[in-house]
Point group: C2
Chain length 244, copies 2
DNA sequence: CGGTCTGTTGAAGGATTTCAACACTCGTGG
DNA sequence: CCACGAGTGTTGAAATCCTTCAACAGACCG
């Protein structure tokens, strides 16, 4: 197989070995939620989870569907997005393994407020919201961890609100590149490569701008030698220059 | 005392009677956090809280200060805001009695990520973050309530991100007026009056725009008869017309 | 090898900011 | 009680940022 791809991104290697039940236990232990539990407790909790695979671009759930599960990314990446009435896509977050999404709410007539889409081939575990709530009742340290993680996400959201409110598009794009670089960056010959397929449209959806403007801004960054970028990938060469 | 004020806003009546220890217990019971506790448990929890008064515009804590307390608004209103380096103010939220703010984090080198300011004369109760965490450990239902409330706030933040990303300033202002009307609105002869002092600058800080633009937009709404507004106050006459 | 999706770039038009001047409200002190 | 000043709100006009429309180039897929 000659690799004719131009992208420097690693191919996803979800071979079916990487998300089996045996591995899952280790993975659970690594999620911040459950780091306080011992092996026995973990096994008990693990029984309530079920595993699912999603292909790249597959929809995991859609905004408006009734929300009954809390999910954790085990392998791959997940995009959380909102669709507006006039067809725009707002990209709220990109999750990596260990992060949760879906619903914490007790079962009711709650609906998902966003759409979740596999960004690469992905493995996700899910648990019924009510079951998860009883886990929280049983293990208070887990509940505290959930509070902490959710509170931290709230802070990030507020950071983003600040940026959208007070910064220019160029500054926002620069900040997003830095954040992505810290979260998903891997050193490579091209600089710090963001190990995820990211289109100009994705970037636009994160920065609250149009794909064209995002493209223009990346072009200027590239001219300045700050980044290197191609179809669906971005590498950062001079992070200093992206600082506000 | 002839009242020459032009504002239709009610004067705040924090006479010292409204936030005493006896009343506090009732107030605690009404906060969503503690609705699951019985009176005995409430009394136990209440011991750990202390009460503080703030005058209108007084700073409760400042962005960057070390964060050690979780607080709950008992009487009055509190603004949460972030200051940007170039002097702009982003208004993240306006809280009413029963809502929490401050830090849930365990004591450490955590800092407040926003500034809290009294919007009217205000009474606030506060608890050491570590004490609060042990309350959460002791009473799992309280922890679940905290999770729910924080998750709901996260959703509101994401809603706001969507609005800032995909809507025009006029649409954003319209949405903010509706939200404020639902949260703080009181029927009056002038329409649904937002019972809080809100300046054009405040509104601009919420909508991510300039005070001038906010003023212009309110002017057009007023010409259309949708709202009535004056110095530091706004009343909504035709909420239907503000819908997107 | 064509078709489709993604990315680039130009140019016109629109939305919003900024600068500036002025009016009005409210509290304070003479 | 009135006058003053600071803070708040309004409005105009120019400048700027950004979007939109449009055309085209390159990359990937079957």
């Amino acid at each position: 197989m000659t690799d004719k791809r131009h992208t420097p991104l690693a191919t996803s290697d979800l071979t079916g070995q990487s998300c089996t039940t045996e591995v899952l236990l280790d993975k659970l232990k690594m999620t911040p939620f459950f780091s306080f539990l011992n092996n026995e407790q973990l096994k008990e909790v693990q029984k309530k989870f079920s595993t699912k695979y999603f292909q790249r671009d597959e929809i995991i759930y859609r905004q408006g569907e009734s929300a009954a599960f809390m999910r954790i990314v085990v392998h791959g990446g997940v995009k959380l997005l909102r669709n507006t009435m006039d067809g725009k896509e707002v990209l709220l977050d990109m999750l990596k393994p260990g992060e949760y999404f879906g619903s914490l709410q007790a079962l009711g007539d709650k609906e998902y407020t966003e759409t979740a889409q596999a960004q690469t081939d992905t493995c996700v575990i899910s648990i019924d919201s009510n079951d998860f709530r009883s886990v929280l009742q049983t293990y208070p340290p887990v509940a505290l961890a959930v509070v902490d993680i959710t509170a931290k996400r709230l802070q990030h959201s507020q950071e983003k609100i600040q940026q959208l409110s007070a910064q220019t598009v160029k500054e926002r794009v620069a900040n997003i590149l830095l954040t992505l670089s810290e979260k998903f960056g891997e050193d490579s010959t091209k600089g710090t490569l963001i190990q995820l397929p990211i289109s100009r449209k994705d970037l636009a959806g994160m920065a609250g701008t149009s794909a064209e403007t995002a493209s223009r801004i990346l072009s200027t960054f590239q001219e300045e030698g700050v980044i290197t970028s191609g179809r669906q990938w971005i590498a950062i060469n001079k992070p200093e220059e992206l600082q506000v």
